[in-house]
Amino acid sequence: MRIGIDVGGTNTDAVLMQGSTVLAAVKEATSDDVTSGIVGALDGLQAQRGFDPADVQAVMIGTTHFINALVEGRRLAPTAALRLGLPATASLPPLVDWPARMVEAVKGRSYLAHGGHEFDGRHISALDEDELRRAAADMSAHGVRSVAISSVFSPVNTEFEQRASEIVAEELGGGVAISLSHEIGRIGLLERENATIINAALRELATGIVEGLAKSVNGHGITAPIYLSQNDGTLMDVDFARRYPVATFASGPTNSMRGAAVLSGLDSCAVVDVGGTTSDVGILTNGFPREATTEVVVAGIRTNFRMPDVLSVGIGGGSLVREGGGITVGPDSVGHRLTQEALVFGGRTLTATDVVVAAGRAAIGDPDLVRSIDPDLARRALERIAADVADVIERMRTSAEPLPVVAVGGGSILLPDELPGMGALHRPENFAVANAIGAAIAQVGGEVDRIYAIEPGRRDAAVDEARQEAVDRAVAAGAEPHSVAVVEFDEVPIPYLPGNATRIRCKAVGDLLMGA
C-alpha cells in the first residue's frame, strides 16, 4: 500500500491506497511547523484503518510550500545572481525583469562577470577568476546565503558554470548553496536565469521542509522511501528536492487535476479545486492537464517551466466575507486558522465556511453559532462565490462547446450543484482529498539527456532512438506501457563537436502500474 499526502496552506490531506482503491482518507489543518499536521494526518489514517507501517511501500508528498513562499515573498534566502558573459548581455542585467517587491524579498544582488560561450563553443571572453573572487567577497560582505550562476550558452558548454561554482564555493565556504542554470533550464538566458535564481532563493526552505517531512513520516515508524511530486506529475526523491525545489513548483494543480480525472472518470473537463485560500481552475484534455503557454509568470517573474495552465482566484473556505456596497468574498483568508477564527468554531471572523453552514448546505463546527446570520446575506455571499468561480472557468474555456465541470477540494462545498451557465457540477467521491490521491497515483518518468552524432539524413532515426529509450526507461521504472507518452523533447546543436553533434533531451511519462 501507498500513502499520498498533500500539504496545502490550509489543510494537510492524506490517503492510504491499495492499487487505485482508497482505504482511508483524512483532512487535518496544516500546522505552522508543517510536521505536526502530517503527524496528525498519519494518526488519522491509522485510526480509520489500522495498518502496519512496514506494509507501506512508498509515501508521496505534494506541497505548495515552495510556490507559496515565493508568492508571499517569505522565508526566502538572501540570493545573488552571478552571470558570466561580459561584455555581452549587459543591456539587461540579472533581475532586470523582476518586480521590485520580489528583488526585495530575495535581497537580490546582481553580478555581471566575464565568461560565456558563443553558440559554436568559442569563448565570448575568458573567465576572470580574480573578478569572480571579488564578486564572491562582495556577496559574503552582504550576507548572501545562496547563489545562482548562469553563463551564456551553458546548455551548450557547462565548463564556465562549473568552474565559477568551484571558485564561489572556495570563497564562501560550504554553507552557501549554489544553483547552476544548465541543470535547471534550456536555451533562453533570462528565463533560465530566473528559474535558477528562484531555485537558489528556495534552497534553505527546501532543506528545512524536506527534513521536517522525513522526520514526521519516519517518526510514525514508516521506513518506506519518501518522494515529492514534481510539476509534471512525476516523482523525485528527497535529496533531489533539496537541491531543485523549483521542480516541485506547480505540483499542487497537477495533483488535483490528475486526482479529479481519476475520481470522476472524465478525461476532458474543467477542474475546480477549492481550498482554504484559493480556487484553482485547470482544463483537462484527453486526460492531460492543459499546459501553460510559452510564458509562465510566477509571482511576476517570467520563467520557462512547463506547468499546467491554471488560473487562480482568491476564494476558499477561509475567505473573509464582507459587506459594504455589495458583498465581497476574499481574497484574504484566515487560512489554516479556520478552526480557531471562523464563527462556526467559536471564532470572530465571518468566513465563506460560515455562510455555507448558515445556508444549511453543510454541517461544519457548531451550526448554532451562525444562526444569527441574515439568510439574505448568506444567499448573496454564495451567489457571489458561484459567479466569481464561474467567471474563472469561463476565462479558461477556449471553445464554445460546453465542458463538464468537476469540483474537488475541501472548499468545493462552497459551490452550488449547478454553476451559472455551466450545467451540473460533478462531485466525485473523495472529492475533498483529490490532491492527496493525485500525489499517490503519481506518474513515473524516464529521461534521456545525451549527445548524439547525427549523420546527414539520419536525424529521424536518432530522434526515434531517443524517444524509444525514454519510453523504455519509464516502463522500466514501473510505468504502465500503454500509458507512456513523450512529454518533453528538446534539441540543442553542439557545433564545436565533430559529426553534427546534437544534445537531445527527452522525457516520457506514464501511469504507475497499480499492482501494489
Binding site: P87, T89, D120, F153, L189, T293, D309, F489
Partner: protein, 360 residues
C-alpha cells in the same frame, strides 16, 4: 506623429512578432531592451512616412543573425546606438530620423532603443511589411536603393563599415562577419533621404504592430478567440490548428534553419502541417501539398492565447494555429518574387498567393 512610452511597448512587440512570421526576434527580449532604453532616456516620437522632409537623413537600424542566439547572447550596453553612430560618422552626415527595417519582436523594438539613446524621431514604417532572413530582401532594393555603406558592430566592441557592389554582396559579407561575431550583430544600413523613403517603404507598420498587439490583449480580456481576432485584422486564413510534434532546428550559415511539424487537433485531426523556416516561416505544407509560401506571411500563434511563437520558441507539445496572410502587393511583382519568392530559397514551386479573407 505620436509619442511612444515604455508602457506602449508590450502591445507593439507582441504585434511585431506576429508580422515577424517566426523571425525578427523574441518579443520579450525586444520589449525589455526598449523599455530599459525608454525608461532611461524618455519617450520616442513616431512620425509618419509622409511627415519626413525630402532632405531628411534616415538611418535604419536592426539586429542581424540567428534568432536562437539572440535569446541567449543579449546585446552589450551601447551596442545599438554604436551602429548608428558608426554609419553617421562614415557618411559625415547627422541623422535626422531612425527607421525600422523589418517587423519583428526585436527588429521593431531595437530602433526604439537607438531612437531613445540618440534622441531622434523614428519613422512609422518598415522596409518589408513583415520579416525576411536576408539583407537585400527589402522593397528599397526593388527601387534601386543601395544597402551600403553599412555599419556592423558586435557586443565586444568590434566595428566595421562595408561598401559593396550590390545588396546581395552586402548580405554575403555581413553574414560572414556576423557568424564570426558569434551569430548576432547590430547593423545600420540603407541610409535614405525622405524622397527615397517614400519610394520604397511600407507605411504605418509600427502602428499596425501596436494594433495587432492590442487586438490580442483585448480579445483575451473579452474571452474572444484571439487567433480569429488577429486573422480579422490581417485578412488571414487559419490553415491549421494542432499540436507541435517535432521541431528540427539547426544554426547553419548564420541562420536558424529547420522544420516544424504540427499534428492536427479538433477539426484538423488526421492532417499534418510541416513548416519550413529560415529564421522566418517560408513554406507551409499540409499533407504533402503546398498551402502557403513566401512572400505571403505564414504566422504561428499559440491557439489559446494568440501569443505569437517565433521559430526559436517553437516547442514540442505546444498547441498552435497556423495562419496565412497576404503580403504587401509589391512582393508579388516579378522583381519582388525574384528577391523573395520560393525559388530563391530553393523550393521548386510557384508562389501560392494568399487572398485577403473577408472579415466574417
Amino acid at each position: 506623429m505620436r509619442t511612444i512610452t515604455a508602457d506602449d511597448l508590450a502591445d507593439l512587440a507582441r504585434g511585431a512578432a506576429v508580422l515577424g512570421t517566426g523571425g525578427g526576434g523574441d518579443p520579450h527580449v525586444g520589449r525589455l531592451l526598449a523599455e530599459a532604453a525608454l525608461r532611461e532616456h524618455g519617450p520616442v516620437t513616431l512620425v509618419g512616412v509622409d511627415e519626413v522632409p525630402d532632405d531628411a537623413v534616415v538611418l535604419p537600424v536592426a539586429m542581424m543573425g540567428a534568432p536562437t542566439v539572440m535569446v541567449e547572447k543579449l546585446p552589450s550596453v551601447d551596442q545599438v546606438g554604436s551602429a548608428v553612430r558608426a554609419l553617421a560618422r562614415y557618411l559625415g552626415r547627422t541623422p535626422t530620423h531612425l527607421a525600422c527595417i523589418e517587423a519583428g519582436g526585436v527588429n521593431s523594438t531595437i530602433p526604439f532603443v537607438a531612437a531613445a539613446q540618440l534622441g531622434l524621431p523614428l519613422v512609422d514604417g518598415d522596409g518589408m511589411g513583415r520579416a525576411f532572413p536576408e539583407l537585400q530582401m527589402v522593397l528599397p532594393t526593388l527601387a534601386g536603393v543601395a544597402a551600403t555603406p553599412m555599419a556592423i558592430v558586435d557586443e565586444k566592441g568590434n566595428r566595421g563599415v562595408l561598401e559593396t557592389v550590390d545588396n546581395n554582396w552586402a548580405e554575403r559579407l555581413a553574414r560572414t562577419a556576423t557568424i564570426d561575431m558569434g551569430c548576432s550583430s547590430i547593423i545600420s544600413l540603407y541610409a535614405m533621404s525622405g524622397v527615397q523613403l517614400r519610394g520604397g517603404w511600407v507605411a504605418g507598420t509600427l502602428s499596425l504592430c501596436d494594433r495587432i498587439g492590442r487586438t490580442i490583449r483585448e480579445a483575451r480580456a473579452a474571452h474572444d478567440d484571439p487567433v480569429a481576432a488577429v486573422a480579422g485584422v490581417l485578412g488571414a486564413r487559419v490553415l491549421h490548428t494542432g499540436k507541435v510534434v517535432d521541431v528540427a532546428r539547426r544554426t547553419a550559415t548564420g541562420f536558424a534553419r529547420g522544420e516544424g511539424t504540427v499534428e492536427g487537433l479538433g477539426e484538423d485531426v488526421g492532417h499534418r502541417v510541416v513548416l519550413h523556416f529560415q529564421n522566418e516561416h517560408l513554406i507551409a505544407e499540409r499533407d504533402g501539398g503546398i498551402e502557403a509560401t513566401t512572400p505571403d506571411l505564414i504566422i504561428v500563434l499559440e491557439s489559446d492565447t494568440g501569443e505569437p511563437i517565433t521559430t526559436e520558441g517553437l516547442r514540442f507539445g505546444q498547441r498552435v494555429s497556423v495562419l496565412a496572410a497576404p503580403c504587401d502587393p509589391r512582393w508579388h511583382t516579378e522583381g519582388g518574387l525574384e528577391l523573395v519568392g520560393p525559388r530563391y530559397f530553393g523550393y521548386d514551386t510557384e508562389p501560392v498567393r494568399a487572398v485577403r479573407e473577408a472579415v466574417a
